[in-house]
Symmetry: C2
Subunit: 187 residues, 2 copies
DNA sequence: CGGCTAACGCTAAAAAATTGCGTTAAGGTG
DNA sequence: CACCTTAACGCAATTTTTTAGCGTTAGCCG
């Protein structure tokens, strides 16, 4: 059979979720640099070789867990207008990403070169913004461009989180959003 | 003696530069995931324990090398006007950072949590922009704000390099600069 | 139900990381 | 300049992590 077969149920799935859960637990209580594959294996009740074979590497596993955590469970909140929709989403986004776990997830996602972790993760952001845009269009509002929103709002937030060169206050995030919306309206 | 003593000359410095050179060489010819501390040690003529004791970790060593490479050797080129100064600098910056080695340096710098690698590296960018700003002021031009330049131009470039969600063309970088300069002029 | 094989466990071997201890050589001092 | 202190290194033993072979288990399909 030529088709590549990938099991997605039963034991395989059970192990994946158990390992993921273990990693999430460990990230809460201990330092990321102290986590090792054998430790994860023991706490999950799995052999290390299973983890190595399946994920290849600690950084790949961490990236996989991070992407799974970032995967949104619901659409962004509908506040009734595009401006408040965007602001609400951005404030929540900034708070999540700048938290300790958020920072860790970002580092993990960017730390894996092999998988498409980074791409998948920023796709989530793109989709959310696209949802807001379509919602605005449905309302008859003049909607923003998603790529421009990423450049004007998301990119600065991520930059400052990664390089720790500026405190990410609520006011600052709000000003990013409002300046972006003004520019849209003026165009 | 209470004062912390750090040796900076002689053998210690020789080893540092030798190890750095070895790492740079290896990054050119082989994949980053394949580089190990014992390999670096052998090629540098040093024992692994020396590297572990001094840098603590492979990722810390890579970050150290990356920061050293990013340290600018000269001020940005003076083209006679602020607009062209900024565009010239940004285009060069984008090309360096989006190259294979640039991407690797970024990943290495962001991969080390301990040291202040990320902070030092983005300080270089800040300093360069500050130089351009002061140069503009000296000429009597209406200068841009450095923090705003980072948000509007640098951050998007870094974002797209890290997440690989968009091709970083010359035209795109130029449009970031020109839009930023227009916004400055209009303010 | 029965065959196929992806995915796992176990174990041994290889590689990497850690640690103790003696030695070398910066950098300061009399 | 000779001497002293100790940061930084080399070496080697130990521990831990990673890799690889091989038999076994259990999804998925006909």
């Amino acid at each position: 059979m030529a088709r590549e077969m990938v099991r997605q149920g039963g034991r395989s799935a059970r192990i994946q979720s158990e390992v993921h859960r273990t990693v999430r637990d460990m990230l809460k209580t201990m330092d990321r640099g102290a986590i090792t594959v054998p430790m994860i294996a023991e706490k999950s009740g799995v052999t290390p070789s299973t983890i190595y074979r399946r994920w290849g590497d600690l950084s790949e596993l961490l990236a996989d867990v991070a992407v799974a955590r970032m995967r949104p469970v619901a659409d962004p909140e509908d506040t009734g207008a595009m401006g408040s929709d965007l602001e609400t989403f951005i404030l929540q986004y900034a708070e999540e990403m700048s938290s300790k776990v958020g920072r860790s997830m970002l580092a993990d996602v960017l730390g894996s070169m092999e998988g498409a972790a980074a791409g998948r993760c920023c796709q989530f952001t793109y989709d959310h913004l696209e949802t807001l845009r379509e919602r605005a269009l449905t309302r008859g509002e003049k909607a923003f461009d998603v790529s421009e929103a990423i450049d004007a709002v998301i990119a600065p937030i991520i930059y400052h989180i990664l390089f720790r060169d500026r405190e990410l206050t609520i006011d600052y995030c709000r000003s990013l959003v409002s300046r972006f919306l003004e520019k849209c309206a003026g165009a």
